[in-house]
Amino acid sequence: SHLKLVGRQEELAAARAARLDLLLPEEPGFLEADPGEDTCTVSQGDIAAAVDIASAAKHFELRLEQFGPYRLDYTRPGRHLLLGGRRGHVAALDWQTKTLMCEINVMETVTDVAWLHAETMFAVAQRRWLYVYDNQGVELNCLKRFPGVLRMQFLPYHFLLATASETGFLQYLDVSVGKEVAATCTRGGRLAVMAQNPANAVVHLGHSNGTVTLWSPNVKEPLVRMLCHRGAIRALAVDRSGTYMATAGLDRKLQLFDLRTYRPLHALVLPQGAAHLDFSQRGLLAAACADVVQVRPSPSLPRKPYLCHRLPLPAHGLRFCPYEDVLGAGHGAGFTSLLVPGAGEANFDALENNPYRSRKQRQEWEVKALLEKIPAELITLDPTCLDRVDTASMEQKRQEKIQRLGFDPHAKAKFRPRRKAKGGSSAGSLLRRKRKVAHEEQRVRSFAKPTPFAKPAAFAPFAKPAPSAMPTAFA
C-alpha cells in the first residue's frame, strides 16, 4: 500500500544519510592520560602546551575585575561571545580573532545577557526592563512589558525569547515581529533557574521547593511537574538531544534524569554543590562548584571528573562553545576560556550553523530561517506529534459519521458461512470455517480502542489549547 511504500522510502533515506557519516572530514578531540595518571590532574597549561598554536590560542583569560561577576552567551555557530557584567558592562566580541564588536556600560544592574537569532542583535536583562541592542551597542528596543527579568533563553527555531522574572512570570517575546506571545504567572516564586530543552523548545524552570516545571507558551499550567531535590534547585541543564536533564540542588546532589520517563538515572554527591550546569554538544556535563569547574562525561557521571579547573573567583556563568572544544566561564574577576578536548561537535552542517559564514551567507540564512519560523502553537512535549495520525479525532469523526448516516459504512457484516452441499454444512465444518475468520474480528476491535495518553491540543488555532495531560513524576 501507499503508506508501506512511504515508510520504506523513509527508512532507505535514513540509512543513506547514516552511511554518509563516512564522509565527515573531522574527528572529535580527546584527552588520554598516561597509565597511572588521571585526566582530572591535567591542567589547562599542559593542554595548551600539547595542542597546536591555533587551539592553544582558544585558551585565554580576560581580567575584568571592576564591573562585577560576568554572565556570558555564545552565538549558535559559536563564533561570537557576549559578556555581561553585573555592574553594567556589556561587551560583544568575536572571541576567535579577538575583535571587539562593541563594549558599552548600560549604567544599570545586568542580570542576564542573551544573543538573539544572529550576531547582529542581543538582549540584556537590566534591573528594571528588558533592552535589545544592536551588535554595535546601539539600543534598539526597551521592552517595558518585561520588568525584573532574571534569566533568558532564546528558542532559535521559533524566534522566541523566553524570560523568567523575579515576580514569577514566564514571558515569551517573538523577536521577528516584536510581539509578546504569552505571559504565564507560574506561581512558583522567584524564577532564578532556567533552561531550555533544545529538542522540543520546552522551558524548564527550577523552583525553591525542589521542583522542576516544564512550560509551553500555549498552556497556562506546567506540562510536567517533577520533584527533583530536597532543597531548592540551584542549577538546571538539558542535553542537546533532549533525553537527559541534569539538576543540582541545595542538598549538594547532582541528579541526572531521563526526560522520556521523568525518572532519575544517576545521583552524585558534590561536597560543595553545583551552582551552574551546562551540557556540551558531545554530552560532557560541566558543573561549577564555587570556583572549581568540573567536567564529567554524561550519562555515566563518574565520581572522578574528566577535567578540573580552579577559577580566580566563584563562577557566575558557564557555557560550552558550540562546535569548539572550549568551555567559557564567567566569574567575579572576568572571563576564562577553558580547553576541554572532545566537548564540541567536530562536523558542523553548513546549512544549519556555519561558523565560517560570510555576511552574505548569514543574510541568506536569516531569510530562510524567518520563512521557516515555527509558530509558537506547535511547541509540545513531543515535536513529532504532527507526523502521527490523530486517532482521537479520527474516532470522533467516525462516531459523528455513524450518527449522521444512521449506520456504520465501514462496519463489516458478520461472517455467515455459505451453505454447502454433500455434508459441507455440518456443524463441525461450519465451526471450522468460522474459526478461520475469527482473528479478523479481534484485530478490528483492538484498532478502535482509544489511546491511553491524551495528547495536548497540538495545533488547533481556532480552539483554545486545552490543559494537557500533566503526568507528575516523583524522584
Partner: protein, 426 residues
C-alpha cells in the same frame, strides 16, 4: 600555520585548480537538525500558500469568430494548432504560440456540428446543418487558389457529430443513426442503430480502435464494435448524455458528460454501475476531454465554468471561470498536458493552464528541485486541516456559489427523506 589559513578550507574548495566553490559541508546527524517535522510542516504551509498566490491560470483569449464556438478539434501532430467551428458555419485554424488565427474558411451554411482531424494530420473533416460531410486540407491554399474541400458528401439527414478512426482511413458520423464511412466511398460502409432516437455524439476508442461509443437522445449510451458491425452494449441513464470521451491510457474506461449536472466514469466491461460519479457542476455538463496522462479530465458546463476532475475522485480539483465567459460549449486538453482550451457561447476561445500555479518556460535546475521539494511537502502534509483548507480554497462566482449551496440543501433533504423511510420501514 595561523587560524585564518586553517579556516579557509571550510570556506572555499578549489576544483581542478581553477574553479573556486563556496564549501557547504554537511552533517546529516538528526541531533543537528531538530524540529524536523514542525519545520517541514511550516515549509509545506508556505508552499501551499504560495501555490494559491501563483495560481493564475488564464493565458489568453482567441478572438475572431463571429458566432458562438460550437466544436473544436486538436491537430494530432502539431501542438500549436487547434481548429474550431462556429455556429455560423465558419471554421478557423489557430496558431496557439502566436495566438492568432492563421486560416478561416466558410465550411457550412448553418452550424458546424462536428469536426475531427485525420490521424495523419494532413486533412480534417467537418459536418454541418446543411447535411454535408466535407474533407479539407490542413495546409493553407496557395496564393490564388480558392478554399475548396477535397471531398464533399451529401447526406439525406442532418449529421450531428463526426469522429475519425485513430489508425485506419475510416470515419464515423452520427445523426439519425451511426454511419461508418470509408474515406474513398460516398455511401457509408455500415449503419448501426439501437433505438429510435437521434444520436448526438460518437467517439472512437483510441486504444481498442475498433470500438465506438455514442450518446443518444433517449438517454442511453451505446457501444459498437466495428469489426462485427453490431452494437455491443447499452446503458440507460436518468438523463441524456451530451458527449463521452474515452480514457487515452485505459482502454475500457470512458467518461460521459450528462445533463443531470454530473459526469459518469464507466468501465466498459461492467456497465451496470459507474466506476465514479463526478459531482460538482451546477448546470448541464456539455463537453468532456481527457488529459493525455489519463489521470484527469476537464469538463465544460452550461454554468459558465470549466472544471478539472481527477479520474478517481468524485469532486473537482480546480474550477476556471471568468466574468466574460458565458456558457462553455466545448473544451479540449492539449496533447502536451499543459493547457486547456475552451470554446464558449460568446465567440471566444480561451487558453488556460492545466496546472494553475505552474511556471511556464524553461526552469533552472534549482528551480525545478525547489518545485519538486515543495510538491512532495504538500503531498506529505495534505491531510492536515489547515493545509487542506488552504489547498482546497477556490473563489467561486456568486451565481455558482449560491447554486452549490442550494443543491447541497436539496441533496440533504433527499437523503434525510430516504433515511426516514428506511428507518420507518424497519
Amino acid at each position: 600555520m595561523n587560524a585564518a589559513y586553517l579556516q579557509l578550507q571550510y570556506i572555499y574548495q578549489i576544483c581542478n585548480d581553477c574553479v573556486i566553490l563556496i564549501a557547504v559541508p554537511r552533517n546529516y546527524d538528526p541531533v543537528l537538525h531538530p524540529f524536523e517535522v514542525p519545520r517541514e510542516y511550516t515549509r509545506a504551509l508556505n508552499a501551499t500558500k504560495l501555490e494559491r498566490v501563483f495560481a493564475k491560470p488564464f493565458l489568453s483569449s482567441l478572438d475572431g469568430h463571429r458566432d458562438g464556438v460550437n466544436c473544436m478539434a486538436k491537430h494530432p501532430k502539431s501542438l500549436s494548432t487547434v481548429l474550431s467551428g462556429a455556429c455560423d458555419g465558419e471554421v478557423k485554424i489557430w496558431n496557439l504560440t502566436k495566438r492568432q488565427c492563421i486560416r478561416t474558411l466558410q465550411a457550412h451554411e448553418g452550424f458546424v456540428r462536428g469536426m475531427c482531424a485525420r490521424f495523419c494530420g494532413t486533412s480534417f473533416f467537418t459536418v454541418g446543418d446543411d447535411k454535408t460531410v466535407k474533407q479539407w486540407k490542413m495546409e493553407s491554399p496557395e496564393y490564388g487558389e480558392e478554399e475548396e474541400p477535397i471531398h464533399t458528401i451529401l447526406g439525406k439527414t442532418v449529421y450531428t457529430g463526426i469522429d475519425h478512426h485513430w489508425k485506419e482511413a475510416v470515419f464515423a458520423t452520427c445523426g439519425h443513426q451511426v454511419d461508418i464511412w470509408d474515406e474513398q466511398r460516398t455511401s457509408p460502409m455500415c449503419s448501426l442503430t439501437w433505438g429510435f432516437d437521434s444520436i448526438s455524439s460518437v467517439k472512437f476508442n483510441p486504444i481498442e480502435t475498433y470500438l465506438l461509443g455514442s450518446c443518444a437522445s433517449d438517454r442511453n449510451i451505446v457501444l459498437y464494435d466495428m469489426r462485427q458491425s453490431t452494437p455491443l452494449k447499452k446503458v440507460i441513464l436518468k438523463m441524456r448524455t451530451n458527449t463521452l470521451c474515452w480514457n487515452p491510457m485505459e482502454a475500457f474506461i470512458f467518461t460521459a458528460a450528462n445533463e443531470d449536472y454530473n459526469l459518469y466514469t464507466f468501465d466498459m466491461r461492467f456497465l451496470a454501475s459507474p466506476v465514479m460519479v463526478h459531482m460538482d457542476h451546477v448546470s448541464a455538463v456539455l463537453d468532456v476531454d481527457y488529459s493525455p496522462t489519463g489521470k484527469e479530465f476537464v469538463s465544460a458546463s452550461f454554468d459558465k465554468s470549466i472544471r478539472i476532475f481527477p479520474v478517481d475522485k468524485g469532486h473537482s480539483r480546480e474550477i476556471y471561470y471568468t466574468k466574460r465567459m458565458q456558457h462553455v460549449i466545448t473544451v479540449k486538453w492539449t496533447s502536451d498536458n499543459k493547457y486547456v482550451l475552451c470554446g464558449s457561447d460568446e465567440m471566444n476561445i480561451r487558453l488556460w493552464k492545466a496546472n494553475a500555479s505552474e511556471k511556464l518556460g524553461v526552469l533552472a535546475p534549482r528551480e525545478k528541485a525547489a518545485m519538486n521539494y515543495n510538491q512532495k511537502l504538500k503531498e506529505k502534509f495534505q491531510y492536515h486541516p489547515q493545509i487542506k483548507r488552504i489547498a482546497r480554497h477556490r473563489h467561486l462566482p456568486k451565481s455558482i456559489f449560491c447554486q452549490v449551496k442550494e443543491q447541497r440543501i436539496m441533496k440533504e433533504a433527499r437523503r434525510r427523506k430516504l433515511q426516514n423511510q428506511h428507518e420507518n420501514l424497519q
